[in-house]
Every structure is written in structure tokens, then in C-alpha cells.
């Protein structure tokens, strides 16, 4: 009896963790290269969910695209794949560009400023974006249309996994593999790693720092947008302040894994998601965040650089 509940909580936790991992990647990419906590990242997640919602609503509105198209896009497998590919692409690219624009306007002038200046600028961007959505889009929470066919599949006793959870997990794992390969195998990926190790030396070796930073600010927000759409599909709503909680959780996940380390962010995301689900399921829901933060503190006391982070070397 308890075993299938445990299984179910693991399924919940891994799905949640997958979304945390996607957002955490954005934090860690930017931190690795810029050494800054991109506070506005949680708003990329929120904005992504909105763009995804509007694209999806637009593409499933018979008045806009014709009822035949809607039927094709929603009623059969190929149509659905096409529909969600378009939705994720549009949102990812739009939010990626938003990230680049923000970097260009708000962070680049601060590249040589004291270390906390970009943090404050990022907080400003975050407040601005939240209020922009609140004032110009909608102050209410909007329901996310349930286009994706959700079927629960029994896996063990009473425990089940839904088609949506499978879709999210498979997508997250694919994205992680692609990103990992991109960063470790391609030329521009190498440039990114070089920049994160030593920006100046990389610059001297012929790496275009601005391109690398812009790329980090494209990929991170784009992944955040994808996570935002998953979040909308999974929980069924989008809201102007939806980014805040997942934002600090994912930042925590990035730190648990070792901030600046891509695989660390992925691991941290899953670890945090599972801990939260188990804490909510077997302790008290009200204390799940306390458990998450206590685990964070414990991890850092015993491994000050995070789970996969390099051990901290004091600078001399």
C-alpha cells in the first residue's frame, strides 16, 4: 500500500524536478559565464508560459486558422506533434530573444560594474516584467487550454503515470542530452566553457565574448520558456506572479548541484523535485519548503561547492 504511494510520489517528484532542472539550467548558464544571479530568469519562465498559451490558443482557434486546421492539429498524433513543436519553438525563440534584449540593455552596460550591480538591475527587470504582464496582459490567472490528451497509465499497484508526465520527462531528458552534447562537443560550446573558466583569457584566445554571453542569454530563457509551458500544461494555469516560487526553487536546485555546472543543475533539479514530493507526501505539505532548504544547507555544509561543483579553492 505504501509502496505504490511512494512510487507515485517519485513520479510526481521526477516530473517536478524535470521542470526545475530546465529552469536551473538558465540560472547556471548565466552564472557560469557572468558570475551573476539572473534574478529576472523566473520572469522568462512566466513570459514563456504566456507566449505558449497565446500561441496555443491562437492555433486552436477556428476563427483564426480555420476549423479544418484545428481539427488536424488537435485530433491526431502528427497534428499534435506539429502543434506543440510550433508552440514550443515560437515561445522558445521569442523568450530567447527577450533574454538577449534584456542582456543587451540591462546587463551589458554593467559588465565591469561591482558584482552586485547586475543583481539589482535583474531585480528591476523582474519587477518591470511582472508589472508589465499584470497591467498590459491580465491581472487574473488564465486557464491553460487542455489540448494535450491526458491518459493515466497504471505502472505499479495504484501508482500511475500520465501521458503528459511522460511527455514532459522525455522532452526534458532530450533537451538535457542535446544541451550537454552542444556544450561539450561543439566549437561554440567549447567557447562557452572557456569563457566560464576565464573570460579574459578566452577573449584573448579569440573567443567572441559577446556572442557567447548572448548565446547563454538565449538558451537559458528559451529553456525557461519551455519549462513555463510545461508548467502551464501540467498545472493548468498561468499567472503574472507564477515565476517567483519556481524561480527561487530552481535557483536552489542549481546551487545544490553546484552553480555554474550544467550537469549539476540537472541533478539538483531532480533531487529538489523528489525531496519536495517526498516531504509533502510523507511529512507535512506545509513544511516541504523547510525540508528543501534544510537539505540545501546540509548539502552545502558537507559539500560547499554543491553536489557536482568543484571543491572551493580559496583565491590567493
Amino acid at each position: 500500500m505504501a509502496l505504490d504511494t511512494l512510487m507515485q510520489q517519485m513520479v510526481n517528484g521526477i516530473t517536478l524536478g524535470g521542470m526545475y532542472a530546465l529552469i536551473a539550467l538558465g540560472y547556471t548558464l548565466v552564472y557560469g559565464i557572468m558570475l551573476m544571479i539572473n534574478f529576472a530568469h523566473s520572469e522568462m519562465f512566466m513570459a514563456g508560459a504566456y507566449v505558449g498559451l497565446f500561441t496555443l490558443t491562437g492555433l486552436t482557434n477556428p476563427k483564426l486558422v480555420g476549423s479544418g486546421t484545428v481539427a488536424f492539429l488537435t485530433k491526431n498524433g502528427i497534428g499534435l506533434v506539429l502543434l506543440f513543436t510550433i508552440v514550443f519553438l515560437i515561445a522558445g525563440v521569442a523568450i530567447g530573444l527577450l533574454g538577449v534584449i534584456i542582456e543587451r540593455t540591462a546587463y551589458r552596460p554593467l559588465r565591469n560594474a561591482p558584482r552586485l550591480a547586475p543583481l539589482i538591475s535583474a531585480i528591476g527587470v523582474s519587477i518591470f516584467l511582472q508589472n508589465a504582464v499584470l497591467l498590459w496582459v491580465d491581472s487574473k490567472a488564465l486557464p491553460f487550454p487542455q489540448v494535450f490528451p491526458i491518459v493515466n497509465i497504471k505502472i505499479f499497484g495504484n501508482a500511475s503515470i500520465s501521458t503528459l508526465q511522460i511527455f514532459i520527462l522525455v522532452s526534458v531528458v532530450l533537451i538535457l542530452i542535446v544541451l550537454d552534447t552542444f556544450v561539450s562537443k561543439t566549437r561554440i560550446g567549447k567557447a562557452m566553457r572557456a569563457t566560464s573558466q576565464d573570460r579574459d583569457a578566452a577573449g584573448l584566445m579569440g573567443v567572441n565574448i559577446n556572442t557567447v554571453i548572448a548565446l547563454a542569454f538565449f538558451i537559458g530563457p528559451a529553456l525557461g520558456a519551455v519549462a513555463g509551458i510545461f508548467n502551464g500544461m501540467y498545472y493548468g494555469t498561468v499567472n503574472w506572479n507564477m515565476g517567483f516560487l519556481p524561480g527561487i526553487k530552481s535557483f536552489t536546485a542549481a546551487v545544490i548541484g553546484g552553480i555554474g555546472n550544467l550537469r549539476g543543475a540537472m541533478l539538483g533539479g531532480f533531487v529538489l523535485g523528489i525531496i519536495e514530493s517526498l516531504a509533502a507526501g510523507f511529512l507535512a505539505t506545509g513544511y516541504k519548503d523547510v525540508v528543501a532548504f534544510v537539505i540545501l544547507i546540509l548539502v552545502l555544509i558537507f559539500r560547499p561547492g554543491g553536489l557536482l561543483g568543484e571543491s572551493v579553492v580559496e583565491k590567493v
Partner: protein
């Protein structure tokens, strides 16, 4: 300029004050003491006294956090935890104190003690907050910069969640708690002295808002005094050394752990004091006053004002806490009732956070070192900012040789 940047000797502040500075200080003192009286006297302006009081609480918080962020160079994203500790201590222990005092049979003494409970609570809450700072600091201060930041963030959230969940039956959870005593010491006596000049519509009554405003101002004066002394003390110099280079500092005999713990405890203390004032001025404490965003705002005040700079931090706190209220106050004040349409006024005050966010970005782009940067900090080497410094030197070199920096980024 370039020479002074390389000079790592700390700049000993000159003791002599110029005439202009003295005049400015006197003017400022007069303004701080009498402007609220003037505001209180005119009904339409009287709410600014409350806004000033809230600004004062944030100034106190920012001065406290400045010890941690500005002096010791540790990023604390959970400073609100100490504020919450102070506020809850003031309410929970204040209540106990009032109950205990009720046993005194002498009515005069009893009433005096009851109304002065918050004065007793000030040191108590300060100590509790400082001890909390030590308790949190001891295990985690070994952590490097941003790791420490996230741990403090977590700690701030833990405190808030515990308060929400009525931890150990202490906090009444989401219901919140009323402050033990409504009328603080001496207020009723002060209220016996109304001044009215009907000809100009001036009608002054010593309001409860004004009372707490002056209490906050006294605490700020104390904080500025203590912080200045700290800055020039052995401990202050240890912080400077530590901030510049931990390894070098420890090799010349600075105990890093002790210095950091002192910074944490001394920073937390002011948070606790601000909490006591907040709890009593507000008359009510509930967990929703101590969210993560509060911590973020306090950090913003310190950075925007100028880390390590007392006037900077004060200006930063006044602006961040004051601007949204001022926009609202001016937009919706009956003063402008004839000038702007009420719908427009509502719209303006609805847009104030949007504008505020934008201003933060612009401010940082224009003055990344803060509005009034600390002169000492500007002259230091920062271990974490080594790269930055190199780049700064490089750009200086570029400037001299007329080269465009962007050409280096190939």
C-alpha cells in the same frame, strides 16, 4: 585616479569638517526633526509622517544589512529573518512582560512599566536577533559568496514558513498577533499639547505615527554612531582586510570566522531592533510582512545607495521605500484632486512599480557603484572582483590610448 586605485592603505577620514558640511548637517538635523511636525500639522499631508516612519524602519534595516554586505562583503538574501525574529520576539515576550508586570500592586509603576514594554523589548529582541545571526552563521559562514546568499535566502524562508505554520504554538500562524500595548510610553502626555494656527489650517496633534517616527530616528542616530565607530575600529579594519583578500587577511592574524560572525551578529541586531519598532508601530505582526521580497528590497537599498557608505545606504533606503509611496501619495492626494482626474491618478499609482523596476535598471546603468559610493570601498582591491578590476584598469589604459574596448572582445 589610477594612482589612488593602487593605494591599498585605507583612507583615514579627515576629522575636520568644512563649513559647508556643518551647515548641511545642521540643516539636515532641523529638517529631520521639524519637517514631520509641519507635515503632521496639515491634515492632507499628515500621512507622509507614517511614510517617513516606514522609511526610517527601512533605513535602520539597510544600515544593519550594510554591516554584512557593505563592510564584511557577505551577500545576505535572508536578512528579513532577523527583522521577523525581532518583531515576533517583541510581541511574544512583550506580552509575557506585560502579564508579569500586572502583578505589581503600585498602579503608577505598573502603568509606567506596561507602557514602556517596548523599551524593555528593544535590547531583548536585539540580543535574540544577534544570537540567531550567530546560530545561523556558525555552520554556514565558511561558504563562498553566492552559496552563502542562497543559504541565507533559505533561512529567511524557513523562518517565515515556521511562523506561518505556528511553530511550537508560538506565533498563531497565519492569524498573526496583536502588539501587547497600543499606547506607548509618554504618548498621551505628548498629545496634551496641540498647537493650532487656524489661519493657515495648521492643526498639530502629536500622533502615534510621529511618536514612532522619532523613536526610529533616535535608533538611526544610534546606528549611524555605532556603525561609524565600527568602521574605524579594529574589527572594521579586519572586515576591510577580509573583504579584500581573505587569505592575506588571515595570514596577518585576522580571524576570519570571528570577524564574519561579528558582522553577522552586529548586522542582525539592527534587524531585530527594527522588528520591535515595526511590531509596535504597526500594532500587529503576521508572516506576510516578512517575505523574501522584503529581503530583496533591503539588499537593493544597500547596493543602490552605495555599499559601505552610510549616507548612501540611507539615501538608498529612503528612495526605495519612499518612491512608490510618494508616487501614490502625490497621485492620489486630494491636493491634486482638481488637477488630475481620479481615474488617471489610480492608473498612475498602478504603474508605479513598473516605473520603479525601470528606474532600478537605469540607476544601475548610470551609477553601478551606487548613488553615494563609499570612498574607502572605491579605493580597495576586491578579491572577487579581481577580473573586474583588471578590466577597469584595462579600460583606463584604453582610454589613455584612445582605443575602443569592444575591439578587444573578438
Amino acid at each position: 585616479m589610477a594612482g589612488s586605485k593602487m593605494d591599498i592603505r585605507t583612507n583615514v577620514q579627515s576629522k575636520g569638517w568644512s563649513r559647508g558640511k556643518i551647515a548641511f548637517a545642521i540643516f539636515l538635523g532641523v529638517l529631520v526633526v521639524f519637517a514631520p511636525v509641519l507635515l503632521q500639522g496639515f491634515q492632507t499631508m499628515s500621512f507622509f509622517v507614517r511614510v517617513l516612519g516606514i522609511i526610517g524602519i527601512y533605513v535602520l534595516l539597510a544600515l544593519g544589512l550594510n554591516i554584512v554586505v557593505g563592510y564584511a562583503g557577505l551577500l545576505d538574501l535572508g536578512y528579513v529573518a532577523f527583522y521577523a525574529m525581532g518583531a515576533y520576539a517583541a510581541v511574544i515576550l512583550g506580552e509575557k512582560f506585560v502579564t508579569a508586570v500586572q502583578m505589581i500592586s503600585n498602579v503608577g509603576l505598573r502603568d509606567f512599566l506596561v507602557s514602556s514594554q517596548f523599551i524593555v523589548m528593544l535590547p531583548v529582541a536585539a540580543i535574540i536577533a544577534a544570537l540567531t545571526g550567530l546560530a545561523l552563521g556558525t555552520p554556514v559562514l565558511r561558504l563562498r559568496g553566492d552559496y552563502l546568499a542562497i543559504v541565507t535566502l533559505g533561512f529567511g524562508e524557513i523562518i517565515r514558513i515556521l511562523a506561518t505554520n505556528d511553530f511550537l504554538g508560538l506565533t498563531k500562524g497565519a492569524y498573526g498577533m496583536m502588539a501587547p500595548v497600543a499606547q506607548p510610553l509618554g504618548l498621551s502626555q505628548l498629545q496634551l499639547l496641540p498647537v493650532a494656527i487656524p489661519a493657515i489650517g495648521f492643526n498639530f496633534i502629536f500622533s502615534v505615527n510621529l511618536y514612532w517616527y522619532y523613536i526610529v530616528v533616535l535608533l538611526i542616530v544610534l546606528a549611524v554612531f555605532v556603525v561609524r565607530r565600527l568602521d574605524n575600529s579594529r574589527l572594521g579594519r579586519a572586515w576591510v582586510a577580509m573583504r579584500e583578500d581573505e587569505v592575506a587577511a588571515s595570514s596577518v592574524g585576522v580571524n576570519i570566522m570571528t570577524s564574519k560572525l561579528w558582522a553577522f551578529a552586529l548586522g542582525a541586531l539592527w534587524g531585530g531592533l527594527a522588528g520591535v519598532v515595526f511590531a509596535n508601530a504597526q500594532g500587529f505582526v503576521s508572516p506576510e510582512s516578512f517575505t523574501f521580497m522584503e529581503s530583496v528590497f533591503i539588499v537593493t537599498m544597500v547596493v543602490l545607495g552605495g555599499m559601505g557608505s552610510i549616507p548612501g545606504v540611507i539615501v538608498g533606503a529612503a528612495l526605495i521605500a519612499g518612491i512608490p509611496e510618494m508616487i501614490r501619495g502625490v497621485a492620489q492626494s486630494p491636493l491634486l484632486a482638481g488637477v488630475i482626474d481620479p481615474t488617471l491618478a489610480s492608473a498612475i499609482s498602478g504603474y508605479r512599480y513598473l516605473v520603479f523596476g525601470l528606474l532600478m535598471v537605469i540607476m544601475m546603468a548610470v551609477r553601478p557603484q551606487g548613488m553615494i559610493p563609499s570612498t574607502r570601498r572605491a579605493q580597495e582591491l576586491h578579491p572577487e572582483d579581481e577580473k573586474v578590476l583588471e578590466e577597469e584598469d584595462q579600460s583606463l589604459w584604453d582610454l589613455k590610448h584612445g582605443a575602443d574596448r569592444s575591439e578587444h572582445d573578438l
